[in-house]
Amino acid sequence: MTTTTETAGHSAPVHHEERKSVLAQILDSSWLTITAAIVIALLLSSVLIAAANADVQKASTYIFARPGDFFGAAWDSISSAYSALFRGSIFDYQASGARRIRPITETMTSSVPLIFAGLGLAVGFRSGLFNIGAQGQVLLGAAAGTWVGITFSMPVGVHLVAACLGAAIAGALWAGIAGFLKARTGANEVIVTIMLNSISFYLISYLLTTSLLRQGGSRPISPAVAANATFPLLLGSSFRLHLGFIVALLAAVGVWWLMERSTLGFQFRAVGVNQRAARTAGIKVNLVFVLVMLTAGGLAGLGGAAQVLGTDKTLQAGSAGSIGFDAITVALLGRSKPLGTVLAALLFGALRAGSPLMQTSAGTPIDIVLVIQASIVLLIAAPVLVKELSLVHRIAQLFGYRMKEARA
């Protein structure tokens, strides 16, 4: 005897599929998010610029008596800083002749090492490896490039290629340590690359003061590299833009081919998303770790070479500056895609190129660039936050737009 009761039979689960309006699509697009992030970052930095300005500070003491003075001074300080930044990085409308376009070429020059190192990090990020070590790889690459540049005497062309090759190999091997340790022992690459950064700094200091790269004096600076080992200038001697820029763009195309069209890139991406599935499909995951780090380090090493052989001509412990750390922000901003990385490198290159003029003519220290850069990347990483802060999205919200729905 059974007592089975069938309550109404039901069909498939109900799907609440809603089409996104064109407006919502635009508001959710990553381009708008990026633009909004840049604008918000510049606004945040404006607060710092105004706050540190002496006139603004003076006006703030009587802000309630004459608020106009305060806002006027604030506006002056901010607009002079940003216009100097613009003149220093894109187009100098106060200069004359060819010098007017010099800033944009400076931007391109500054972006070269960032493109290389950013591409290297992008390859790592897409392959699931969090390589924080571009700083050390850039430094090692710069050192190797310098060593080849000062030690040997080779014909035009050959010497540059040899120096670049040396730089790529040195960067690759340095990064390869982290890849090898991850493959062999499972050592976390974040920690290892952070530690390698510090080690590389002391190693280069040692080489500069006591051995290989020492100039002779007590200053930690190398001799100048041979002329044949430097990147040829593209626009004559009044511009610093060098062949490295073209090479960097070619490298971006190469990285695109590697990641999207090659079997090696297929393995890289597979490992980046799902190591277990990659392993089950016969991909040698450990080998991929090493290859990814070699590729990333090689590119970062080229970045170091571009800085020394293209711009600086000599090596100092500070030659790598903050290229390696900036490159992390470049790769993140560029979403680890080659085109995005190039564009992000140009943006940060512009900040680097424009900041000296901002410091001299508007009195705003270069350091503000770090603030702008870090804010942009933090905001890009949190699209929801950008929407919360963005006026456009706030207004759209009044008309029924829901910002939490999509995440760029």
Binding site: T2, H10, V14, R261, A270, T280
Partner: protein
């Protein structure tokens, strides 16, 4: 305590997991919630337990509406839950796990009163006859004991309603019997039990009241004397016939031979212990056993994912041990992994890319290290057609496909090579009935083309439906290899560690396994 759900609705994006569900749990009863994987049972219980906020409906305790902002409030109301995936911190001791969240404390630093915590564990384990050491680390305990820790944890909070979510999935048939005993004991002590499962026999053995859930809705209620066929058809929505149509096997020579295969883990545990068997061409060998007895390790060792400590694996006379995964695949081994989402597919890759996951570097898909997107897309069009994969575009990420269609992609990929051996682990786990039929047919077709086939499955029904011979694994060993017509009772005993002879002698004493005539309706 009487617990009532009225019109509970829960959505995840466009998917409605629970669609206005009404349920009443009477005090002191065992109420079974029966349904296929993915029917919405666990979601419903997570709503009841305060883990998910419902999108509609209300919960009533003793006819008073309540809302639970979190599990803490549900527990305070007397609801306890033993989750399918245990909610235990592996590096904590039993006592620490039991008191977590309601720790007895002393002193200004609110230090944990460990003697009191141990006492609590001891008191409850003695009441139910558990043998649990309060100071043992949970990660060192067998799963059956871990489950008891979960029960102690719930009881230590004075749970009046205890929800058991698929509690038998990881247990041997004997452990299942013991759990059923515990459930009865709890019921006698006045605790209501909500028993979530998809296994009909267990429901019939223990439930006072049965509610069947399908696709997020209550589709019927039944008493325990309802027949298995009726329950099954309620559960899946149509009359079920799970018998696979297949011709008797025509086994030829044994081309795949495993001998004395031993795998010792770094911690010294033997996940495989002198495993030996062979598989003939044109034959399906099913590896049966309770989850966690070495089956996964066996499959992974064959593929080269694990290093064997000793033994040999020969395919057509060639040693496979020591070869890389890539070489094993190239030797003609097709491998359908146990968990397709973590091991078989790359969720953000397109369907087309997933179809060449282990062929990407072979012509015609690649030449000189360069992929040919056109050929990859054409291949995808052909394969998805052949394997009846329902999709909008082969360039869409595979994650947009249903589980059944994803599994078909894995099969299509693995069968697109000339196979000398097919290893399929849990080939139909979590699939709908239509996909199960399709997958089974393809596997039988592969056998009939003369390929040796190994099926690893923890579902006895699947084993009995597909196998030509059955190897039962227990604690890393093959406890016996038996014919396909072996009864459930005997297989159940073997899965608990009896040899075939002992099992034949002892069969018949067990409440859940004695019905060898039961239709295959365990999904």
């Amino acid at each position: 305590m009487k617990l009532e759900l009225r019109g509970i609705t829960k959505r995840f994006g466009p998917l409605v997991a629970n669609d206005s569900i009404d349920l009443t749990f009477e005090p002191g009863t065992i109420h079974a919630l029966l349904g296929e994987n993915g029917a919405g049972k666990s979601t419903l219980m997570n709503v009841l337990y305060g883990l998910y906020a419902p999108d509609g409906g209300e919960i009533l305790v003793d006819d008073v509406p309540v809302t639970f902002a979190g599990p803490g409030e549900a527990m305070a109301a007397g609801i306890g839950m033993v989750h399918q995936h245990f909610m235990l911190v592996p590096v904590f001791t039993v006592a620490e796990n039991v008191v977590l969240g309601h720790e007895p404390i002393h002193g200004a630093g609110r230090l944990i009163d460990l003697p009191k915590a141990r006492g609590l564990v001891k008191e409850i384990s003695e009441r139910f006859g558990f043998e649990v050491d309060p100071d043992e680390l949970v990660e060192n305990l067998p799963v059956g004991v871990q489950q008891r820790v979960e029960i102690i944890k719930a009881l230590s909070r004075d749970a009046k309603v205890l929800i058991l979510d698929e509690p038998t999935a990881v247990l041997t048939p004997q452990e299942t019997d013991e759990l059923i005993g515990i459930m009865r004991q709890l019921k006698d002590a006045g605790t209501s039990i909500v028993f979530i499962t998809h296994k009909l026999r267990e429901v019939q053995a223990v439930a006072d009241q049965i509610t069947v859930i399908r696709r997020g809705r209550v589709v019927g209620t039944a008493t325990p004397d309802a027949s298995a066929v009726e329950l099954a058809s309620l559960m899946v929505g149509r009359t079920v016939d799970l018998g696979v149509e297949k011709e008797p096997a025509q086994p030829q020579d044994a081309t795949f031979v495993v001998k004395d295969l031993t795998v010792i883990e770094p911690n010294g545990a033997r996940s495989l212990d002198a495993v030996s068997f062979d598989v003939h061409r044109g034959e399906i060998l099913a590896i049966a056993g309770v989850q966690g007895n070495g089956q996964s390790e066996l499959a992974e060792t064959i593929l080269g994912l694990r290093h064997a400590t000793a033994g040999s694996i020969r395919l057509d006379g060639t040693e496979l041990l020591g070869k890389s995964v890539g070489d094993v695949l190239s030797a003609g081994v097709g491998f359908v992994p146990e968990d397709r989402s973590t091991d078989g597919l790359i969720s953000s890759f397109s369907v087309a890319e997933n179809l060449i996951l282990d062929l990407y570097d072979k012509p015609p898909f690649a030449k000189a290290g360069s992929l040919s997107p056109r050929v990859v897309a054409e291949n995808a069009a052909v394969k998805t057609e052949e394997f009846d994969v329902r999709l909008t575009s082969v360039q869409d990420p595979i994650s947009t496909l249903s589980g059944g269609n994803q599994q078909k992609v894995v099969l299509a990929r693995e069968m697109s090579r000339e196979l000398r051996l097919l290893v399929a682990s849990q080939p139909t786990r979590g699939l709908d009935v239509g996909s199960i039929e399709f997958v089974h047919k393809r596997i039988v077709a592969e056998r009939d083309s003369g390929t040796p086939v190994i099926i690893v499955s923890t579902e006895l029904d699947e084993v009995l439906a597909l196998a030509d011979r059955i190897a039962v694994m227990y604690r890393g060993r093959i406890i016996g290899i038996v014919p396909a017509d072996t009864s459930r009772a005997v297989l159940g005993l073997m899965m608990a560690g009896s040899t075939h002879e002992d099992a034949l002698r002892d069969a018949g004493d067990h409440p859940t396994q004695n019905d060898a005539e039961m239709p295959e309706a365990e999904l």
